[in-house]
Subunit: 190 residues, 2 copies
DNA sequence: GTCCTCTATATAATTGTTGACATAGTTCGT
DNA sequence: ACGAACTATGTCAACAATTATATAGAGGAC
């Protein structure tokens, strides 16, 4: 039940479905994703349930926008999610499942290619996060802990994002080295 | 499409549905989870699709077991998943979404309680992973990189698991400190 | 003029996942 | 003798997520 709660969090301020999608592609990218085909029906459903209100907005460009905002009931629903304590044990990381079974690729070059592609994904992601961090440092260089709560907690998630992606990158490098040295040892023996 | 591929990976050796569930609770816990109610129907479906074969086994204890093993077709299906390169960008971490919106909890004590509960989850998980690591070190202390591939790659995932959970634990501690010092500053001003 | 991208909303079909329920034999403690 | 915990298999309803498809105006590239 996380997506509806994330949307309730975003809809403290009015947003359209399209706006929400952009948030997922920017700040929420670190820990959740959602497609428009999931967002639009859910907005309608939550509107029916009384968690949101909507109104027709206008736009200079393209078709008309429908803008949603959470109700008091929606606000309470979000607070009760947070009060229930951290939701742990639901994490899924598909690429680690793939690494677990990499012995199925009988060709060491194919394994190395896999790991290098993973490394390059991580490197790109790290750059993105560093840019986001610099952007924030530029604005709040002198008082990082004086931020309003609404910015402080998102930045905590940016920090752990940086830590995890750095760890991933180091692990990729170390793993590639280990795989190479195993292969070298194997060739020696022949 | 990850669960079916993970099951194809496990079914290099014959397993029952119940066995597979135990694997998810032990070695795969780091990156995927699945319930029995998902495993049993999927085994039947993959059997129909010709990715698995099954045979009725006997057991000393409890009701009879049905044991599955992958076919050559299943093996190829798994290889093609791995050849497609790493599946990235699908990760979901619900507790980070919660942290992102922690400003909705107006009471700092409630926020600290949330973070401490998260910290204690991470500490417990770290202990579990360290035990798993020690168990492996005890068996293969002298030649860690001489392991057969089938053990080497799972251990790579254990290493990144340890790194990520340690990073999480450090981040929890640092975050709790920052939240406390913000609160202290706020009280000073009054 | 045509194609591409961006804004913007939406539906349909399919697949994946969770949680509750139902069944049943074995072993162990009290 | 009774209940709890463990082995073992499964169904069903509800909910969540993905992929493909449809529509349509505005702006820029070629």
């Amino acid at each position: 039940m996380s997506l509806r709660h994330i949307m309730l969090g975003l809809l403290r301020e009015p947003h359209s479905g399209y706006d929400i999608k952009k948030e997922f592609e920017q700040s929420l990218r670190n820990f959740w994703r959602a497609e428009l085909s999931q967002i639009y029906p859910l907005l309608q459903k939550m509107d029916e349930e009384g968690l949101l209100t909507s109104k027709q907005g206008s736009s200079d460009i393209g078709p008309p926008r429908r803008v949603y905002k959470r109700t008091a009931k929606g606000r309470r629903e979000l607070a009760s999610w947070l009060s229930g304590g951290p939701t742990v044990g639901t994490e899924r990381v598909a690429y680690l499942a793939q690494v677990y079974f990499l012995s199925e690729l009988k060709d060491t070059d194919a394994v190395l290619e896999f790991m290098q592609e993973l490394r390059s994904h991580m490197a790109g992601w790290l750059e993105t996060l560093k840019r986001a961090e610099n952007c924030w440092k530029a604005n709040d260089a002198r008082y990082p802990d004086d931020l309003p709560d609404e910015d402080f907690y998102p930045q905590l998630t940016l920090q752990i994002g940086l830590m995890k992606v750095s760890a991933n990158l180091q692990w990729c490098d170390k793993s590639i080295e280990r795989i190479r040295s195993r292969e070298a040892k194997r060739l020696e023996k022949e």
